[in-house]
């Protein structure tokens, strides 16, 4: 029982510094992409929180990759560089 409480407390505290994951999905329902693959529309439509924004995005906005997809946003074509910044 004590171990369960310890795990629960650890889990709750581990989330405290993260943005709210409004529709986070388990990985078993998601795709893994290699070079040459195209992200599915579903994966491009996943909404993420912007926690430090500027320019087109302000803090508190939401972001999805489909925002930058010219085929889906009316022709605003952007190449996207994603810089992974967390110490996973």
């Amino acid at each position: 029982m004590n171990i369960f409480i310890l795990i629960l407390v650890s889990f709750l505290f581990s989330q405290s510094e993260n943005c709210v994951a409004s529709d986070s999905q388990p990985m078993d329902s998601r795709s893994i992409y290699s070079i040459g693959d195209t992200l599915s529309v579903q994966d491009q439509s996943t909404i993420y929180d912007v926690c430090n924004g500027n320019g087109d995005y302000q803090t508190g906005d939401s972001f999805s990759f489909i925002d930058l997809n010219g085929s889906q946003n009316g022709g605003d074509y952007k190449i996207t560089l994603i810089s992974m910044n967390a110490t996973w």
Binding site: Q25, L68, Y77, I82, S83, M84, N85
Partner: protein, 160 residues
């Protein structure tokens, strides 16, 4: 804007967006892309971290992922030694290879303009039941009315 995005724009690559992806609000930006940066920091969804997992299962730190305008994965590069010449060269080469294609999609007659002439040509492609890559704006492998609508939106200013 980061130093690197400045460099890309100076080189003529205006339509490149750089985003940083982090796991927590307090994640430290690495110093590579984020020198003088006000880049949007996008938070991966906890606990499944779908951005990380869809590109780098089990997580590679300081990885750069390059996506085309339609969500195609063009390349990845791990910044083990920072954003050095080799990294910049790789990223710039990938961008250069795909940049023109992205910008000129919809320019069916190849005059570097998107206008009513391209709409007419696009309709001709549809009526002739042919395929033209430049006319396939939504890149679904067929040219149909959806592509024409997208082209009209571009011309009307709803797109680029």
């Amino acid at each position: 804007m980061s130093d690197f995005q400045d460099e890309l724009r100076t080189a003529g690559y205006e339509n490149v967006v750089i985003i940083a992806v982090g796991q927590t609000n307090i994640s430290q930006f690495n110093s590579n892309f984020c020198n003088n940066s006000d880049l949007p920091l996008v938070m991966d969804q906890y606990p499944f971290l779908p951005i990380r997992e869809q590109f780098s299962p089990n997580g590679l730190h300081k990885q750069v992922v390059i996506l085309d305008y339609d969500g195609a994965l063009l390349g990845t590069y791990t910044l083990n030694s920072g954003l050095n010449w080799s990294a910049k060269s790789y990223i710039t080469d990938v961008i250069a290879e795909y940049y023109e294609q992205a910008v000129l999609l919809g320019d069916i007659n190849g005059d570097e303009l998107i206008n009513i002439q391209d709409i007419i040509l696009s309709i001709n492609v549809i009526l002739a039941n042919e395929y033209n890559e430049s006319a396939d704006l939504n890149t679904d492998g067929i040219v149909n009315i959806l592509d024409v609508v997208q082209l009209v939106n571009i011309i009307l200013g709803n797109g680029q």
